[in-house]
Symmetry: C2
Subunit: 306 residues, 2 copies
């Protein structure tokens, strides 16, 4: 799956992933009105609004953007109905041949971690049958519990040709509270990065490992160090745009081959219509605004990489 | 909610929580056969088997055990059908007046962390309505992302009178890979414990905070230190029984008031029928075996606490 991701990034010349984090406040009024009219102000109504919103955006970006990253929390908060639309979104993106990174940040130990891996990347055994549950291509994983939490994911990735991105240095302001603390003179995130490289060595695609890392665009100097520590890990980079990460900061996350990183933007793309820059599209044409914002993001990053 | 948990523990004289982690291999054959006959070897069939298994155990322990801890991964792997039976289990336990600790180990930042908090402890806004999604009483939370990940949970806990248990020192063998690394001469888990105490200070119930901690029974010496660092935090203690934690190890997790800790057992209770000790019950009477195992566990722990 890492080979497919790399090939799609190269073909579309777009090291970009769009975060499908459909908060209700981002969804245009006409979509919410229609959904609530059909289903009432219910979880079903919210799920229908999210689905129509996602579908329009996917239809408008799938030919230029290689991957999407649905944030499961934004669906989980709507309960069963939310999880149904998460699954529907995953399936639809895969139909459109997009790579789907489930931003689930799961992490547990042993058989529990394996159950999460099965839920999002694998197949569950039911009697004599093997059945997929949510079936994303990649999942994000939290490393706090150590190898006992990661190894079950590696097992499932090997079986199913899937991949993971492990949280190393997150984009948020307080990520340093624990991640930056010095251990033998080096920050914790570097130690986690070393383990990512180690875990990744046994899980190689052609040029990159299917064990990647999450490193925030908001910490470019740390990205530079981590790039060297994990040369074969694809880096998923959140924090571009809304969180303050700039294109020129991103060069450090890439290797000399021009590969090795994929930059995420969520609200900067899906809620582009609400920004002054794209106001000319109007709320009704929100999905066209998203397409334009994606094009601009790709150009911005490719410009900085030259 | 922490007050309710403490009151229930005192009333039932049982500092014990039963982990509802229904792996298919634990479910007796007659239950699986009946479910598969009705629904086939499908996700619905698996969910029905889990539900019948859970319900029988709950019916047999609710009057002696104050709390349950369903492990969401074990449901999530069965997709939407699995999440439906997770919700059904949460609701049924609450009907039986048990405290429900959702073992979800979620953790993200800002609005995403808030969405997880809303999903599991709060209410989501849909138009003019506020609607609950999974609605557990407590949730477990991963601290790797720092305060940005925890604060949204605290906000929802305050609004909804709910609580969280933050992972501090997990019970698994590799938990030390990151958690034990020394920072200024002290292990990372102690720093996390200090933050738990700090976060907890602003979220006090009567005697205990509704910000608790997870510390594995398998590390009693560390438990002793953490008990002092977080005097007002309830400690959720996994690792008793199957993972090797013994009752005499558990005394360090309690305060002098005899409170402050709740010990989890999952397969030791729910799959008791498969152990030699309880074989006399027979597979058909698995739920009675679970009740006896719960009684024995309560006596074992209370004996050690004397």
């Amino acid at each position: 799956m890492i080979n497919k991701l790399v090939a799609k990034i190269q073909k579309q010349n777009a090291p970009v992933v769009v975060g499908l984090d459909p908060m209700m406040k981002f969804i245009p009024k006409h979509i919410k009105d229609a959904a609530f009219e059909e289903y009432g102000e219910t979880l079903e109504g919210a799920a229908e609004a999210i689905w129509q919103f996602n579908k329009a955006i996917i239809d408008n970006i799938y030919d230029i953007v290689p991957a999407v990253k649905p944030q499961v929390a934004m669906y989980e908060q709507f309960g069963i109905e939310g999880m149904k639309v998460f699954k529907k979104t995953v399936d639809y993106c895969k139909e459109k041949d997009m790579v789907v990174i489930g931003d689930v940040k799961r992490g547990d130990i042993g058989s529990t971690s394996e159950a999460y891996a099965v839920a999002h990347l694998g197949k569950v055994q039911v009697g004599s049958k093997s059945i997929s549950a949510f079936d994303e291509d990649f999942a994000t994983v939290n490393p706090y519990l150590g190898s006992d939490g990661i190894n079950p994911f590696l097992k499932v990735c090997k079986e199913e040709n899937k991949g993971i991105f492990i949280l190393v240095k997150t984009s948020n302001p307080s990520s340093g509270e624990f991640q930056d603390r010095l251990i033998d003179g080096r920050p914790l995130y570097e130690l986690v990065g070393e383990k990512v490289a180690e875990w990744g060595n046994e899980c190689m695609g052609d040029d990159y490992s299917y064990v990647g890392a999450v490193v925030g665009a908001t910490y470019p100097e740390m990205g530079k160090v981590l790039r060297k520590i994990m040369p074969k890990a694809y880096i998923l980079v959140p924090g571009y745009g809304a969180q303050g990460g700039k294109a020129e900061d991103l060069v450090h996350f890439f290797n000399k081959d021009g590969l090795g990183a994929i930059v995420n933007s969520s609200r900067g793309i899906i809620a582009a219509y609400a920004k002054e820059e794209y106001a000319k599209f109007g709320e009704k044409n929100f999905a066209e605004a998203s397409r334009q914002a994606a094009i601009d993001m790709i150009n911005d990053i490719n410009g900085a990489l030259k």
